[in-house]
Symmetry: C2
């Protein structure tokens, strides 16, 4: 954080909003009216509008002890854009609401917004509205992302077909290993504040956790190669959980091959260091924000040259269940290990 | 609250979402795809899309000690729809994100959603998406409302002209007086839990606080009578604060007449009972969710028969300032007393 500290109270709500939004330049022709009125106005010129929203709460989704505010701003945008791409759509606008306690300074908020604007610029989306509120405790972030898609060209979760290939972009498990590392370093620091965190050689997994990217490139690749996935979603809760969604909503089962799961070397090394099974990290670790999608088998040739895509299995009839086939040749039921926050 | 208590953990995230959203029936043809995928899809068929979002945080925006959850759900939707109407647009969809601690039961959440669905039904909007999360402390509610408007027919805050009439729908100050009453009863209860709250004859102001409505009827009236306000916004922070926004954004000043301020008899009586000035309540009390709008003087004849509209003043040049003319003939500068939450 910067050394100056300006109290939020010294600006007031409207001064604060002005301060945080004064440099916005709308990039999209569809952004008719942005921040500063009761609502924003967009015009998608004959396209359909895609909307998604995510809530990020301090202590549940992020820990400010090891999350730089700029990264948090960036990630808050990216996780929403990921949902728009997962519809095979292009994000165009976001709204951002925040609730902040007075332990935050204006400088700290500026850092958060720097990250928000960096993500907006990288992905070509406009910040067009939001709400700024005090909070009693904890930093509250709510982002809504808006996108566009040619009429009826969006891709749902429920339309996979038996025999379709199950594909994954990028690598899995890295964000979970980054979280494991940061939580370990936090514990060590709390026990002994003199010890410096040991993050050497771990920039890959730390980056996967703190600064994820959304797979804009995949949507562009599909468009260039005239590929339309039969179903798609993004991987926020872990591959197991997501593939079970595709199965349930499409009324199908699946086979996933352990040996095909994409895990980066850095993540594999980190897993061994922490005594974790890389396969479990890839299946159940969340927050990778990769895409999982299904393709007709005849589209296989179109993706073989793209090193960012791994075919990890195929869809089956529902009665065949949803199974992982291990390297050793055994078959396990896939289970969703995702969201356990209510048990904490 | 109902007597049964089902723990949220017993359903899990997806079970909970299914439970809360299973009865949704989409009402609008523009709602192409609703809850259950990465994002929702809407098609406004050649109209422009209007978007607004509001965050409601426990302890800042509402107190669960005197706010029934069903009313809270209703109000969470209504305050967002009010922003859409304030653009002269029709709301069509909402997304709803909530963060809840495990002190909430599934039954309590069902009550909240009953209110949400009641508002959706009354105003003809579809709930098409959202996010459900645990929170460490406090109930977090984030609603985004989406609406539609014929191309370039939306009404901004910045387009009032000198000489335009300043109009207000309904009555002002009631919600603030309801809040004053509830805070007083809460204090009495906390000091002496045996005493029953004294809400007799106060249903008007309590209703204004706990169950506000958005002025859908005004937008319909404008359309029927071919009236286009020159500027408009909704009154959430108090008339003074809002009229100053219109002045600032339109580069103008204003004259407001104290004797023209619409205050309901019930609110006036409550103000005297509490030793408050009804004019101050009307100017600085927030949360009435009425509309303030400006009209060309030649449109005056079109509104005289509508008893729900009061002309409270007119726009002037900026150098004439923004003034209240009192019953006694004195002139006071209008000041925004709105949002002081960061000083708490």
């Amino acid at each position: 954080m910067s050394e100056n500290r300006t109290e939020i109270a010294s600006l007031g709500e409207f001064g604060l909003i002005e301060q945080l939004t004064k440099n916005i330049e709308l990039q999209n022709a569809s952004s008719i009216l942005g921040v500063g009125d009761d609502a924003a106005v967009i015009d998608h010129f004959g396209k359909q509008t895609v909307i998604t929203t995510d809530l990020l709460l301090e202590g549940i989704h992020f820990d400010l002890m090891y999350t730089p505010l700029k990264h948090l701003g960036y990630k808050s945008v990216v996780v929403n854009l990921s949902d728009i791409y997962a519809m095979n759509a292009e994000p165009t606008q976001i709204t951002l609401s925040i609730g902040i306690s007075n332990r935050f300074s204006v400088e700290a908020l500026n850092e958060f917004y720097e990250g928000v604007y960096a993500a907006c610029e990288k992905y070509g989306v406009d910040l067009i509205g939001g709400d700024t509120s005090a909070s009693q405790k904890g930093f509250v972030i709510s982002v809504t992302a808006i996108g566009e898609v040619a009429p009826d060209k969006f891709v749902k979760r429920s339309t996979a077909q038996k025999g379709d290939l199950i594909c994954v972009s990028g690598n899995l498990g890295g964000a979970f290993l980054g979280l494991t590392l940061m939580e370990r370093e936090k514990r060590i620091y709390l026990e002994n504040p003199q010890l410096q965190p040991d993050l050497e050689n771990e920039s890959y997994i730390v980056g996967r956790l703190l600064k994820p990217e959304a797979r804009k490139d995949m949507i562009a690749f599909f468009a260039e190669n005239e590929i339309v996935p039969t179903s798609m979603m993004d991987i926020s809760d872990g591959l197991s959980s997501e593939v079970l969604h595709l199965c349930k909503q499409s009324g199908l089962g699946c086979r996933i091959y352990e040996e095909k799961l994409p895990v980066a070397d850095e993540a594999r090394k980190a897993a061994f260091k922490f005594g974790l099974d890389p396969t479990v990290c890839a299946l159940n670790g969340g927050e990778d924000y990769e895409l999982i999608f299904t393709l007709k088998q005849e589209d296989y040739d179109r993706i073989t040259l793209n090193e960012e895509i791994s075919v990890v299995g195929y869809m089956t009839d529902a009665h065949e269940g949803s199974k992982l086939l291990s390297r050793g040749g055994n078959s396990f039921d896939l289970t969703a290990q995702g969201w356990q926050a209510f048990h904490v």
